[in-house]
C-alpha cells in the first residue's frame, strides 16, 4: 500500500510589491538611538561619517543634537515589524526565552525631548545672545514635551486598537478622556504663554524682531508637534496594510499546518500496528512542524542548504531512514550546485536502501572557495572496489557525475564498518 501525504508548508513571504525605500532607526548597530546607523544604511555612507557629522553639528550651535533628536522621533524603528518564526515569537511572548535587557531606548522619548530643549536653547543663545530668551524657551519646550509625549501615547493606543480604524481625534488625544484633554490643553497653553512672554519681553530694542522670532518658534513648534505625527501616521498606514496581509497569510498557513497534523494523526491511528509506517509518518510530520516553527532558514529554491534539506527530506520520506542534516555556511543556489545535490541524493538513497543503518548523517560545509559534503552511515558497509552491479548508482551517479562537473567524490567504506561518501566541489568558474 502506498500512502501519499502531502505536507508542504507554504512559507509566508513578503508581498512582492515595489516599495519605496524608507529610512529607519537601526536597532542592530546603534550607540544611542540608532539614528546614525539607520541613516548610514539608508544613504550607503560609512556610519563613522554620519556620526562625525552629528558630533560636529552638535559642537557648533547644538543643531546636531536637535536634528538627532528630531530624527529619533520621526524615524520608525526597523524592529517594529520584525518577525521571527512563529514558534520562537510565541516562546518570546510567553516569556520562555531570555528577554533582551531593557536599554536606553525605553528612555528614548525623554532623552530626545531633553536633547531638543538643549539644542533649541543653544541655538537661541547663539542667535539672540545672552539669557534673554531662556525662560520662554524652557516653557515652550516643556509645552512641546507634554504635547509630544501625548502624541506618542496616542500612537501606542492606536496600535493596540483591534479594529484597525483610525480616528483622528482619538489618535491625538488617545482614549484617556479628561486627563488626555487636560494635558493637551496644558501643552498648548504653555506654548502660547511662551509666545506671549516673548512678545512682552520689556526693554528690548527690537521688539518686532522678537515677535517675529516668537512667531517662527510657534510655527516650528507646531510643525515639530504635528509634523512627525503626520509623517509617522503615513508610514504606519502602509506598514499596517502590509502587516494585515502578512497576518492573514500566517493564519492560512497555520490552518493548513494544523490540518496536516490532523491528517497525520489520523494516518497514524490507521497504521497503529505498523511500527515502521508510524515512525515514518511521525518523523515527516515532526520535520515539517520543526522547520515551520523554528527554522529561519532559506528555502530550497534560493539556497544550497535549503535544497539539501529538501532532498534529504524527500529521501527520508521515500525510504524511511532518518537523515540528520547539518550545514555550515550557505550559498545561493545555482546551476553549479546541481550535480552536487544530485550526487548527494544518490549517496543518501544508497545508504538508506543498502546500509541497514538506522540513521544517516549528512554534513555540508560551504565556503567561498570549496563546498564539501559528507554522507555517512553506520550500516553494514561495502568494499568500494567491488561495487556490485545493482549498485551502478555509485559509479555513474556519484563518482562520474562529480568528475564531469569538476568535482571529486571519494567513498570510504569497509565491510561492517559503515560508509562515508565525501563530495567536494570548488567554486571557481562560477558566474555569480
Amino acid at each position: 500500500m502506498t500512502i501519499v501525504v502531502t505536507m508542504k508548508t507554504q512559507h509566508p513571504e513578503t508581498p512582492a510589491t515595489l516599495e519605496a525605500r524608507r529610512a529607519s532607526r537601526s536597532t542592530e548597530g546603534r550607540l544611542i538611538g540608532g539614528v546614525a546607523a539607520g541613516l548610514s544604511a539608508h544613504l550607503s555612507v560609512d556610519v563613522m561619517y554620519v556620526r562625525g557629522a552629528f558630533v560636529l553639528a552638535s559642537v557648533f550651535g547644538g543643531f546636531g543634537v536637535a536634528l538627532y533628536a528630531g530624527l529619533w522621533m520621526i524615524l520608525p524603528s526597523d524592529a517594529r515589524f520584525a518577525q521571527g518564526a512563529p514558534g520562537l515569537d510565541a516562546a518570546s511572548r510567553q516569556g520562555k526565552r531570555p528577554g533582551r535587557p531593557s536599554k536606553l531606548e525605553d528612555l528614548g522619548p525623554l532623552v530626545a525631548l531633553g536633547a531638543v530643549a538643549l539644542g533649541v536653547v543653544a541655538l537661541l543663545q547663539s542667535l539672540g545672545g545672552g539669557f534673554v530668551a531662556f525662560w520662554p524657551v524652557v516653557l515652550g519646550t516643556v509645552g512641546l514635551a507634554v504635547l509630544w509625549s501625548q502624541a506618542d501615547e496616542a500612537q501606542r493606543e492606536r496600535w493596540t486598537d483591534s479594529t484597525g480604524r483610525i480616528d483622528l481625534v482619538r489618535a491625538v488625544v488617545g482614549r484617556g478622556g479628561v486627563a488626555s484633554y487636560a494635558r493637551l490643553a496644558a501643552g498648548v497653553g504653555l506654548l502660547i504663554s511662551a509666545l506671549a512672554l516673548f512678545a512682552l519681553q520689556p526693554g528690548q530694542a527690537g521688539v518686532s524682531r522678537d515677535v517675529l522670532v516668537a512667531a517662527a518658534l510657534g510655527v516650528a513648534g507646531l510643525a515639530l508637534t504635528v509634523g512627525p505625527w503626520l509623517f509617522r501616521l503615513a508610514g504606519d498606514l502602509s506598514e499596517e496594510r502590509a502587516e494585515r496581509v502578512r497576518s492573514q497569510e500566517r493564519a492560512d498557513v497555520a490552518a493548513h499546518l494544523h490540518d496536516s497534523v490532523l491528517q497525520t494523526l489520523a494516518l497514524i491511528q490507521k497504521h497503529a500496528e505498523d511500527g515502521w509506517a508510524v515512525a515514518r509518518l511521525a518523523r515527516a510530520q515532526e520535520r515539517d512542524l520543526r522547520s515551520w516553527l523554528y527554522a529561519e532558514e532559506s528555502g530550497p529554491k534560493t539556497s544550497v542548504a535549503g535544497a539539501l534539506r529538501a532532498v534529504a527530506a524527500e529521501v527520508e520520506d521515500s525510504h524511511g531512514t532518518p537523515i540528520e542534516v547539518v550545514t555550515v555556511g550557505d550559498l545561493p543556489s545555482s546551476e553549479r550546485s546541481q550535480p552536487l545535490l544530485l550526487a548527494a541524493r544518490e549517496a543518501m538513497v544508497n545508504a538508506a536502501k543498502h546500509s541497514g543503518a538506522d540513521r544517516i548523517d549528512v554534513y555540508a560545509e560551504m565556503g567561498a572557495e570549496l563546498t564539501e559534503l559528507f554522507v555517512r552511515d553506520r550500516g553494514r558497509g561495502f568494499d568500494p572496489t567491488q561495487v556490485p552491479s545493482d549498485r551502478l548508482g555509485v559509479r555513474a551517479s556519484i563518482i562520474d557525475r562529480m568528475r564531469r562537473h569538476g568535482g571529486v567524490a571519494e567513498i570510504k567504506s569497509a565491510q561492517g564498518q559503515g560508509a562515508e561518501v565525501r563530495l567536494s566541489l570548488e567554486r571557481n568558474g562560477e558566474g555569480t
Binding site: A85, K96, R97, E286, R290, V326, D330, D361, Y363
Partner: protein, 214 residues
C-alpha cells in the same frame, strides 16, 4: 557502575517529562521534575542533582535564566540542554549560560543516558547540530602555534574534531580517525566549550540571526 547519576528534569511539557522519566528512570536516579524557572531553581537547590536536563524554552525566561539565578549556589550541578527548538541563537545562548552540552529531544533513551553520564563527569556533549552551529560561529581558524589565549577562534585540531562530530562521528570514531585518544577528543571538545562560553566574540550570540549567503 556505582551510584547512579542523580537527575532533575526541567521542561514545561508534562507529557515530555514523564516520557523522559520512563525512558531513563531505570538507569539514572530521577530526583524530581520542574516546569518553570522558579520551581527549577528551587528543585536544584533542594535536591542537589548531579545533572539537570534543562529545556531551552521555559516559562520565566528560558533555561538560561535558571542557570543565571542559581549562580554559584549549586556548583556541583551540571546542566545538559535539551530542546526541540533548533534556533541557533537560543542553543548557543544556553551553552554560553553554562550548559555543558546540547541534545535534541528526538535523542534515544540510551544516547540520553550516555550524554547524562558524560556531562556528570564534567565532559561536554556536542551533538552534530551543535557542532555545526559552533563551526558557523567560529568561522575561520588559526595556526596551532598561536593558539594559547585566543578565545575567539578555534585551533585547526578543534575544527577537525568539530567537523567530524558534525559529520556524525562518535567521540570514539573521532579518536580513531585522527589517531588520538578518546581522552584527547574530550579535551578538545571541552576546550571548544570553554571558548564558546568565554569568548567575547561580539556577534557570537547574534550571528545566527544573519547567517548570510557567501
Amino acid at each position: 557502575m556505582g551510584v547512579p547519576v542523580s537527575v532533575v528534569i526541567v521542561d514545561d511539557h508534562a507529557m515530555f517529562r514523564s516520557g523522559v522519566r520512563a525512558e531513563i528512570a531505570d538507569r539514572v536516579s530521577v530526583l524530581g521534575e520542574a516546569a518553570d524557572v522558579d520551581s527549577a531553581v528551587k528543585a536544584v537547590v533542594d535536591l542537589r542533582p548531579d545533572v539537570v536536563l534543562l529545556d531551552v524554552h521555559l516559562p520565566g525566561g528560558g533555561g538560561v535564566e535558571v542557570m543565571r539565578r542559581l549562580g554559584t549556589r549549586a556548583p556541583e550541578t551540571r546542566f545538559l540542554a535539551l530542546s526541540v527548538s533548533d534556533a541557533a541563537e537560543d542553543v548557543i545562548g544556553t551553552i554560553r549560560g553554562g550548559a555543558r552540552g546540547y541534545v535534541t529531544k528526538s535523542i534515544t533513551g540510551t544516547e540520553l543516558v550516555a550524554a547524562i553520564g558524560r556531562v556528570s563527569e564534567g565532559d561536554a556533549v556536542f551533538s552534530p547540530r551543535l557542532a555545526g552551529f559552533v563551526l558557523d560561529a567560529f568561522a575561520g581558524s588559526i595556526e596551532v602555534a598561536q593558539v594559547d589565549q585566543d578565545l575567539d577562534r578555534l585551533t585547526e585540531r578543534e575544527r577537525e574534531v568539530m567537523r567530524l562530530i558534525a559529520r556524525g562521528y562518535a567521540y570514539k570514531e573521532v579518536a580513531s580517525e585522527l589517531f588520538i585518544s578518546v581522552k584527547t577528543v574530550e579535551t578538545h571538545v571541552s576546550s571548544v566549550l570553554r571558548k564558546l562560553q568565554l569568548s567575547s566574540r561580539h556577534q557570537l550570540t547574534r550571528w545566527a540571526a544573519d547567517r548570510r549567503l557567501l
